[in-house]
């Protein structure tokens, strides 16, 4: 593969701390390799900013291989950029052409306060996770493998839900700032498995109630699925809605009720 260099113009959101108002600043990024990822391109831009004795652009990244959920960015009005099922770290500059104008913004929601520039605090998602995104396991010796039979379909579906990396793209892409896709993935990867059954109804109630403390309400646009780097299905939102109202209707004081 031959290496190509492109020249692009960046409109980057600069915001000096949570209380700052923030504004766009334009940067010319010349001679960018098309083999570099979007984040590597920002690294290059930052190196040049540092050389010019200017403040580099703050952005988040960690694994840079699409599995940690640390990178974010609204690129040209799309969370994680234009490609489907891809995080920003795996978006490569070959997606863009020479002379392109690229707008880069942080993920936005009232519960995603901007820390600086493009970095936002996604701690509200952790709060949802703390409310019920776990199974209580008694300590002791490890249980035998395959002791609990799991139907293959359920295992596959639970795995699909567990693919959520918690990046917050669903919230960013949602016109309502709703966190339904994240929460439904976290609820369902446990609710679909036998290990999650004992806390199933408590979990869905606690996690949905916590979600609603911080985020908006779903109107079934489906933007979250399009933005999701892990392509979490909208079906999980339906499962969560069903379980939530079921949990409300059930009288869990009635012993032995499944």
């Amino acid at each position: 593969m031959s290496e190509n260099n492109i020249n692009i113009t960046l409109d980057v959101w600069r915001q000096n701390g949570p209380a700052d108002k923030g504004h766009f600043e334009t940067y010319e990024a010349k001679e960018i390799s098309t083999d570099s990822s979007f984040l590597e391109m920002l690294d290059v831009v930052n190196e040049r900013l540092i050389d010019d004795e200017k403040l580099p652009i703050t952005f988040e990244s960690d694994c840079r291989e699409g599995i940690c959920g640390t990178c974010s960015l609204m690129i040209n009005g799309q969370a994680h950029g234009p490609n489907k099922g891809q995080a920003t770290c795996q978006l490569h500059m070959r997606t863009f052409s020479d002379g392109d104008h690229i707008t880069v913004e942080p993920f936005r929601a009232a519960s995603f306060p901007v820390i600086k520039d493009l970095a936002v605090s996604r701690a509200a998602l952790d709060t949802i996770q703390h409310a019920g995104g776990y199974v209580s396991v008694s300590t002791g010796s490890a249980p035998d493998a395959n002791l609990t039979p799991v139907p293959k379909d359920a295992a596959d579906l639970a795995m699909d839900a567990a693919a959520c990396i918690g990046c917050g793209a669903c919230v960013a892409a949602c016109p309502n700032s709703a966190a339904q896709l994240f929460t439904s993935a976290k609820v369902n990867h446990l609710n679909l498995l036998p290990q999650g059954q004992s806390e199933r109804w408590k979990r869905v109630e606690a996690m949905v109630d916590t979600m609603e403390d911080y985020f908006g309400t779903c109107t079934n646009h489906g933007e979250c699925y399009e933005a999701c780097p892990k392509e979490i299905s909208l079906d999980f939102i339906a499962f969560m809605n069903r379980d939530y109202v079921k949990a409300k209707i059930k009288n869990r004081k009635l012993a032995g009720q499944k």
Binding site: D11, W13, G17, P18, A19, F24, M74, N76, G77, Q78, P82, T103, V104, E105, R108, A109, A110, S111, P113, I115, S121, A123, A124, T127, C174, P175, N176, S177, A178, V208, D209, E212, D213, Y214, F215, G216, T217, C218, T219, N220, H221, G222, E223, Y225, E226, A227, L234, D235, I237, A238, F239, M240, N241, R242, D243, Y244, V245, K248, I249
Partner: protein, 283 residues
């Protein structure tokens, strides 16, 4: 810094949690529960809209038959319940469903507004200063918060026009729906209002029908593929059916000249005229 810094590790909730009410009121307390109620009332209202459209097709049978249909609605329940009682029960059910549907829509929208930065919540959705791209959200889904109020305004207009007879452009005769429809929709501006409102209604139904499945959690791989088709089909059938009335009135198919009792403005005499017409038809 003088300004208060948000605690980035412990974000502030956008709303305070209320004390849980007893079942079933606690369903209303959560947005997911409210969406569930919005979906159920939506199904009820959709049923009404469909039945209303189909019932109105009686207009193509003729003035007397439409009068008979209107009378049949008033006499619903036959001899078991008194005249008008069952109709009013249904009407109160509809009003309650409308109220719940609108209240759920308004309050959940307010939550979404709070969850987006206030400054960035425009036209009923979160916006980005740098602009944004919609991939999945279609025109119908993004305009739900506009088509809803449009339908409400149209409903008031429609009731004032053809139920209460308050509007000056018709010579309203109670009990002669053919005359009322023909004279009202014979006005071009009124016909245009009906056409536009029904397009808004169809858009609302299109997104609403698909939304029902998602909000109620009705999800089954056996029929998931059919959801969008059902939404388009229902919206299309209701749109087509409803559009025939203003368009065919303008085209002269529905015309008060074809109504033998349309000139009799006194309600009692008008009803008598229809009864005579119908009894002759039955012979």
């Amino acid at each position: 810094m003088a300004q208060t810094m948000p605690d980035l590790r412990n974000p502030q909730p956008i709303r305070s949690r209320k004390k849980p009410l007893p079942f079933p009121l606690n369903i209303w307390q959560s947005a997911v529960g409210r969406k569930w109620i919005m979906a159920l009332t939506g199904v009820g209202l959709l049923g009404f809209v469909l039945a209303h459209m189909i019932g109105n097709l009686h207009i193509y049978e003729g003035p007397a038959e439409l009068h008979e249909y209107a009378e049949a609605l008033r006499g619903l329940g036959g001899g078991i319940v008194p005249r008008m009682v069952l109709l009013w029960v249904l009407r109160f059910g509809l009003i309650a469903m409308f109220g719940l549907h609108i209240a759920a829509a308004y309050t959940t929208k307010e939550i979404s507004r709070k969850a987006s930065d206030d400054a960035n919540f425009m036209d009923g959705q979160k916006s980005y200063p740098g602009g944004r791209d919609y991939i999945a959200a279609n025109y119908a889904s993004r305009t739900m918060r506009w088509t809803g109020p449009i339908i409400l305004l149209y409903l008031v207009f429609h009731l004032a026009d053809l139920t209460w007879g308050w509007l000056p452009h018709t010579e309203y005769i109670k009990g002669d729906p053919y005359h009322n429809v023909a004279t009202s929709l014979g006005n071009l501006p009124v016909a245009i209002i009906y056409i536009l409102a029904n397009v808004a209604l169809a858009l609302h139904i299109f997104h609403g029908t698909w939304s029902v499945f998602q909000s109620l959690g009705l999800n089954n791989p056996k029929y998931n593929q059919a959801r969008k088709g059902l939404a388009a089909g229902l919206a299309g059938v209701i749109l087509l059916g409803n559009l025939t009335f203003p368009i065919l009135t303008q085209a002269g198919v529905i015309d008060d000249d074809k109504n033998p009792c349309g000139q009799i403005t006194d309600q009692a005499e008008n009803t008598e005229c229809f009864e005579e017409l119908l009894s002759h038809g039955g012979e």
